[in-house]
């Protein structure tokens, strides 16, 4: 009869194998790591680049580098540099600058993103008033769009959207591009 002595050896060997197999399966090695990239900064950076590219800039702003200034958000600044530095807006080389002192703002900025609030924001807006600078703000959902700003980021159903003040844009001599206009939201 096939009593076959080998079976005992196999039984022992495979008891060990199955134990190793199941324990290997149960060892949760190499689990996924949380991507800690700043998603808000990425989204805002993408919008700022769109604003730069889709707007119809006055002729006197079409010389030299195209400058996006960032005030109060280093993550956004770093992401813009990482992703878009070296790109061109029309024939202008894109330059991203981090602005810590509002004195730097005045002449050479095309798009100015600021997270300033209160007096500091008023001062900044006054300083850039009547200049073809697209001032972009980002205020809480329950706060009205700051006076003098051209664009303001708002959160709508968890999404970052933007509202537009056309009057301020015109006062600054900016002709807002159709693509920017068509995606703007109202509150």
């Amino acid at each position: 009869m096939l009593t076959l002595g080998i079976r005992n050896m196999y039984l022992l060997l495979f008891a060990v194998v199955i134990l190793l197999s199941t324990s290997w399966l149960q060892s949760d090695q190499g689990g996924p790591q949380l991507d800690e990239a700043n998603t808000i900064a990425i989204t805002k950076a993408s919008f700022l680049f769109q604003f730069a590219r889709s707007n119809d800039w006055p002729n006197d702003k079409k010389q030299g580098n195209f400058r996006i200034g960032i005030q109060g958000n280093t993550a956004l600044y770093l992401f813009l540099v990482e992703k878009y530095a070296g790109q061109t807006i029309g024939s202008q080389m894109l330059e991203v600058v981090e602005i810590s002192d509002s004195e730097q703002v005045v002449e050479f900025t095309h798009v100015l993103y600021t997270e300033s609030e209160g007096e500091q924001l008023i001062q900044l807006i006054n300083q850039t008033a009547d200049k073809p600078i697209m001032v972009v703000t980002s205020v809480d959902a329950d706060t009205a769009m700051p006076e003098g700003a051209v664009v303001n980021f708002v959160v709508q159903t968890s999404r970052i959207r933007y509202e537009l003040d056309m009057e301020n844009a015109l006062n600054r001599g900016l002709v807002v591009g159709n693509r920017i206009l068509s995606w703007a939201v109202t509150r």
Binding site: R7, V17, T22, L34, T39, I40, I42, S158, R159, R179
Partner: protein
């Protein structure tokens, strides 16, 4: 004696004759079947499996169809052929797979026929099935380790075979825990493949998610499956956001953002469930802080950040 009685006697004699004839035939068949089985066993013991099978398999269709020994020797021979093939080629070659499948079905048959009488055939069949079940589990592990795209169903198939055989050996064994681990490992294997694939693959990502959902469905208490599912969904959203560049049009940016928010939303539920299971785990608190932040929900994000700081502080003390 009337002609009627004569007729009855003739019928009885005829019946007896038919019975004797059939009994003799059956007996001859039994003797024949026994000798075939014995001869096949001799061949199998000499590892002449093909010859053994040539002899025994035709008999399984007729005279030996209810003979546990015959089914066992046939199953044993297929198992022998399987082992040879494994040694020479691999356990997953077409021949090995078909030999193993035949071995399993024939050994189960041998066990089922013999189960009532409980001779050594039952025990030997179970031993052989035990061996074969483990080869299936080995193939599961090997499949996960050397995972290639689209192997999911094959690996799950091996595992299902393993469980099916184990249920014959012992109906009380519960392999749910291992099934959960197989699903989680397949999710991980697909993710690693996705991370190293140069072009994006929605199909691979769908498989990652499907395997984690299956693991959760199997085990309502599995923390890791929930946490990993949440991370995969969230990371997928981040990865899509990162894919936005200077070539992206405004409408694409809007669409991408919508898709990302949907993924972040989907990530929230399993992360919250993982948090409920283990409220003081740092990675979950960090995950919730991050997901809520991505959903622009500062209040909730701050709440979990505060909880995380508290845990970290307690650990530091």
């Amino acid at each position: 004696m009337g002609s009627h009685e004569m007729k009855n006697y003739s019928s009885i004699i005829l019946l007896i004759w038919v019975f004797v004839l059939f009994s003799a035939q059956a007996n001859a068949q039994n003797v024949n079947s026994e000798s075939i089985v014995d001869a096949a066993i001799d061949l199998a013991e000499q590892e002449l499996f093909d010859e053994a099978l040539k002899m025994i398999e035709p008999a399984l269709l007729h005279e030996a169809k209810d003979d546990a020994r015959a089914w066992y020797v046939s199953g044993y021979s297929h198992k022998g052929k399987f082992k040879k093939e494994v040694f020479l080629v691999s356990s997953t070659s077409a021949l090995a797979l078909s030999e193993r499948e035949l071995a399993v079905s024939q050994l189960i048959k041998a066990y089922e026929i013999d189960a009532q009488s409980s001779t050594s055939i039952s025990e030997l069949s179970l031993d052989a099935l035990d061996y074969l079940s483990k080869t299936y589990m080995n193939d599961v592990v090997r499949g996960v380790r050397g995972f290639t795209r689209g192997m999911d169903d094959v690996i799950v198939g091996y595992f299902n075979e393993f469980v099916a055989i184990r249920s014959v050996i012992n109906q009380n064994e519960d392999w749910t825990r291992e099934e959960v681990e197989v699903e989680k490992n397949l999710a991980r294997a697909n993710r690693l493949l996705l991370e190293t694939t140069p072009t994006d693959s929605e199909e691979l990502f769908a498989r990652v998610v499907a395997h984690y959902y299956k693991a959760i469905e199997l085990d309502g208490e599995d923390y890791t499956a929930r946490y990993n599912l949440a991370i995969n969904l969230y990371n997928r959203g981040v990865s899509r956001l990162k894919s936005i560049d200077h070539t992206t049009a405004m409408f694409e940016l809007m669409e991408t953002q919508d898709a990302c928010i949907e993924l972040f939303d989907k990530a929230l539920q399993p992360m919250l469930a993982a948090h409920t299971m283990s409220p003081n785990r740092k990675e979950t608190l960090k995950g919730l802080t991050t997901i809520y932040n991505a959903l622009s929900n500062k209040e909730e994000s701050d709440k979990y950040k505060h909880a995380l700081d508290k845990v970290l502080k307690a650990e530091g003390e």
